[in-house]
Amino acid sequence: MPQVKIIAKNFMDMVASLTAIKLDKLYNNVFICEAILRSLPPLAKKYVLQLLFIDDPVPCTRIEEWVLPDGLSKHRVAIDRLIQLRIFTETVDRREGTCFSLNPTFQNNLQKHIISGGVLPREPMNSSNGIKLPSLQELETYALQQWECFLLQLINSGQGEKLTGISSSMMKVFQRGLLSQRDRDGPRLTESGFQFLLMDTNAQLWYIIREYISNAEERDVDPADLISFLLELSFHVTGEAYNLNTLTDVQRTTLKDLADLGLVKLQQGRKDSWFIPTKLATNLSVSLADSSVRKEGYVMMETNFRMYAYSTSKLQCEILRLFARIEYQLPNLIACAVTKESLYNAFDNGITSDQIITFLQQNSHPRCADRVPSIPENVTDQIRLWESDLKRIEMTQAHFYDEFPSKDVFEGACNFARQWGGLLWEDSKRMRLVVKSEVHNQMREYLHTQGN
């Protein structure tokens, strides 16, 4: 899933793009150091561990010595990333050449973390205080429910009833880029919107979180604070209750939004209220790394263009509806057909055939995934053919000229249009020509001068 990587890297880029002061501030938090470490490429992780207890700068050549020729590109990527994140500080030694040392704050925190072990960011509440905690399973279903709800609302905010507490302005922020506003029939999913739907939950989550963070300054919240809180959150223990009193005001308001996304579950007791992180929250730091967690597929495609999806999810039904006609729905099965009309609809929305095919391939049922190809060839071919059908005619806005006074004028006009790269068609016999609209103004001016 290359898209996932793009998103994850984008997030890291975002972290990297923070100013030095803010980055150093981030590294003051042990959990951020840990999360950043986890997000690094494997080779970079190794470098950090190697230098963890070394204070003196280490020559680059000495690090490179360990890498086999095949891994040199990986080595360069790892070093680049480490410098970008200001984890490695580059110094030039006259004798040894380029040397690296770890960011002292980062190094100290990581050392502390490793020596003192995984100290929790905050103490969970004592479970004896009459708190009835939901079981892990309940929590997971809750989280997924919340998340799907949110996504549904995201896709079709027009007709969808308001299920989540996310403000419409906030929703707009999320929808930016994913949906395109059209005059006639409301918002439509864009290409990236469809891509978004194809991603796995964690990647989607990170996309949303990124939007949320980039939007932070508009809400007078320091993005660095937000990042550190989110990363910290990922180190909480799933299913444990944490008192809201331990949080700052900003964090508390953030937490409310996160609850809507299904990251935490908020509960109210008699005296105080608390939050319970769900798996979505604790997995936040996982998705940062390149390692992606694959989900099991649910789609079976038949050679007769019928498609069966073993899913109870409304969201998945909506996704399928983007390019297929839903015929009927059983409690755990969605039966649909891929038709020319449904696909034209999808192409109309800017979804490409390749996207649809990769989606089908990635989400094919385990039984089908074992087969090669997992999607019948006639189906993939037909999808591509229908798409190319639509691309046979290209519309170009143009202007038509005729009734030229003389052959010379006509030919001069043709040459002029050719020079501007706007000549589409010419008929020298009847002295007619068609020119792109872009060139129309220049053409007109030219003809005026000729006329005079």
Binding site: Q50, F53, I54, D56, V58, R62, E65, Q111, I114, I115
Partner: protein
């Protein structure tokens, strides 16, 4: 030349000594297996007068009887007929060779000693000496010892030829009739009597038993021939009737018990490795004598009186056996009884021989079957499968452990320390539980040093393998070659330098002088050109070689 594992018998009665028979040039050597045995033997090939051997089909073992000119006979019992035949063939060849040589010196052989001049004798002897001693067939001592023996024997040389037997069969003794009466007459000579006794041990036994206590010799023979006559008439019914009346007569009519016993014994001695297949194909076995009576008439089978019939084959075989055995008793007397007794004695002895050698025989058979294993005579070879004796792996490992326990390890002192050791271990854990991990965990200098040394080992390992891509081609060459290449490169640079200098020199001088200068310079330039050419060719060759070499090196290291 050739060796055979044989048993040597000085006579038929001898039990024999096991040993190795070697056929060397001009002589036969017998070396007993038992070094203490004194039956070491040496027979000069020219001395061999005749060789007799048992026939392959006979029930006797593979015997080769060599008699030399002195009249001594040596019997060698071979393990099988093949060996015997091989040996025989070689001896025959050797004999033939001797005979060829003989005509060259007819005087020496044919004339008696007294006719030879002393000088002749001496010459001949010298030649013999030369022949044997110098060819190392005999040692000096052996030669003279043999000579001495021969001289001693010369004086008592007297041929003691055995009298053979007539090849006429006993049953072939036809009675003469006078033509008028029914009376038939058998003419009996001592020769015939001997033959009868030899061929029919039962008759011999009967003779010893009945004569003269029960009947006279004449009566005995009358009875015998009456029985024979009855046989020849083929009237088995009459024979049976008479046998029932007269028990003495019955003795002659019944199949010979003693013979049968001997036959059984011989059968037991038959080499089990014998391939019986040929006989089976011959299809004789189920036909009784092919149905031919001894006088050539066809036999009418009368099964009820079968025991009074004798088969032609039996008679023939028996006769042949007796002829082969020869007249091995020295009793020349006319006394029939003494002949019978002597014969019986001989048989007794050989029988006793058979008894005592039974064990040895058994052993021999076993050994033979081991040595010459034939597939179709083998017991099935599929040995029962022996499953792994590990039934319970736990048991197995525990038993293995047990072995170790018995091994003293000299760790007795440890025992006392064990509990202290556990104590300190627990203390350590307690310490870390209360104090936490050591902080700082590791000194930066130590960490740096460790990392540096590890990197060092990595880089040296890399260089050894030579996989480092940054290493130039030069680095991979052996040091000497590299130096050479570097040196050559320097030289080449210098040369091209001087080349350009020469060019510059040419340019710098005035035109009128240029020609003269170029004349001067040309040889130098030519020399430089040649050097460059040589360098290029050499470099090409070198790179090709080193490329090949490095390819080979890579293959080797994989």
């Amino acid at each position: 030349m050739s060796d055979w594992q044989v048993k040597y018998k000085s006579s038929l009665k001898d039990r024999g000594t096991e040993g190795i028979l070697k056929l060397r040039e001009g002589m036969l050597l017998f070396v007993p297996n038992d070094p203490t045995s004194d039956s070491k033997l040496k027979v000069l090939t020219p001395n061999i007068k005749s060789q007799k051997y048992t026939k392959e089909g006979s029930k006797k073992p593979a015997w080769l009887n060599l008699s030399n000119k002195q009249g001594d006979s040596h019997i060698f019992e071979f393990q099988n007929y093949q060996d015997m035949h091989a040996c025989r063939a070689l001896i025959t060849k050797a004999l033939a060779k001797c005979e060829e040589e003989q005509p060259k010196k007819p005087a020496a052989v044919l004339t008696s000693a007294e006719q030879l001049s002393i000088a002749d004798l001496e010459l001949r002897f010298k030649r013999l000496h030369k022949e044997f001693v110098e060819t190392k067939v005999l040692t000096e001592d052996e030669f003279w010892a043999t000579r001495k023996k021969l001289l001693g024997k010369d004086s008592i040389r007297k041929s003691k030829q055995q009298v053979g037997l007539k090849s006429m069969m006993v049953s072939g003794i036809k009675p003469s009739t006078d033509g008028r009466t029914n009376r038939v007459t058998f003419n009996l000579t001592s020769e015939i009597i001997f033959q009868i006794f030899a061929e029919k041990p039962a008759v011999r036994q009967a003779f010893i038993n009945y004569v003269p206590s029960k009947m006279t010799e004449k009566d005995f023979w009358t009875k015998y021939f009456r029985a024979e006559y009855l046989y020849s008439t083929k009237n088995t019914a009459v024979a049976a009737a008479e046998a029932a009346e007269d028990e003495e007569l019955a003795v002659f009519l019944k199949p010979d018990e003693i013979l049968a016993q001997e036959a059984r014994q011989k059968i037991r001695r038959v080499d089990p490795t014998l391939d019986m297949e040929a006989d089976q194909g011959d299809d004789y076995t189920h036909l009784m004598d092919h149905g031919i009576q001894r006088d050539g008439t066809m036999d009418v089978v009368e099964p009820q009186n079968g025991q009074f019939r004798r088969s032609l084959l039996q008679d023939l075989n028996r006769h042949a056996a007796v002829v082969l055995e020869g007249r091995n008793i020295d009793v020349d007397s006319e006394n029939t009884r003494s002949v019978a007794e002597a014969l019986a004695r001989v048989k007794q002895v050989s029988k006793a021989d058979g008894e005592t050698t039974k064990d040895a025989n058994q052993e021999r058979l076993a050994r033979m079957s081991r040595l010459a294993e034939m597939e179709d005579l083998q017991a099935p070879q599929n040995f029962p499968l022996a499953p792994l004796s590990i039934k319970d792996p736990r048991d197995y490992f525990e038993s293995q452990q047990g072995n170790v326990v018995n091994e003293p390890r000299g760790a007795g002192t440890l025992k006392r320390n064990v509990h202290e050791a556990y104590g300190s271990l627990k203390e350590s854990i307690l310490e870390i539980r209360t104090k936490g991990l050591r902080d700082p965990l590791i000194k930066p200098e130590v960490a740096f040093e460790v990392f540096r040394s590890l990197t060092q080992t990595i880089s040296t390992a890399k260089n050894i393998i030579g996989k480092n891509p940054r290493e130039s081609f030069l680095d991979r060459l052996p040091k000497s070659t590299r130096d050479e290449v570097l040196h050559v490169g320097k030289l080449k640079d210098a040369m091209s330098n001087s080349y350009s200098q020469l060019e510059a020199m040419k340019e710098s001088v005035q035109s009128e002088l240029r020609h003269q200068l170029s004349l001067l310079v040309r040889p130098m330039q030519q020399a430089l050109d040649a050097a460059f050419q040589h360098y290029d060719a050499d470099l090409q060759r070198r790179t090709a070689k080193s490329a090949r070499g490095s390819a080979g090196e890579a293959n080797g290291s994989v």
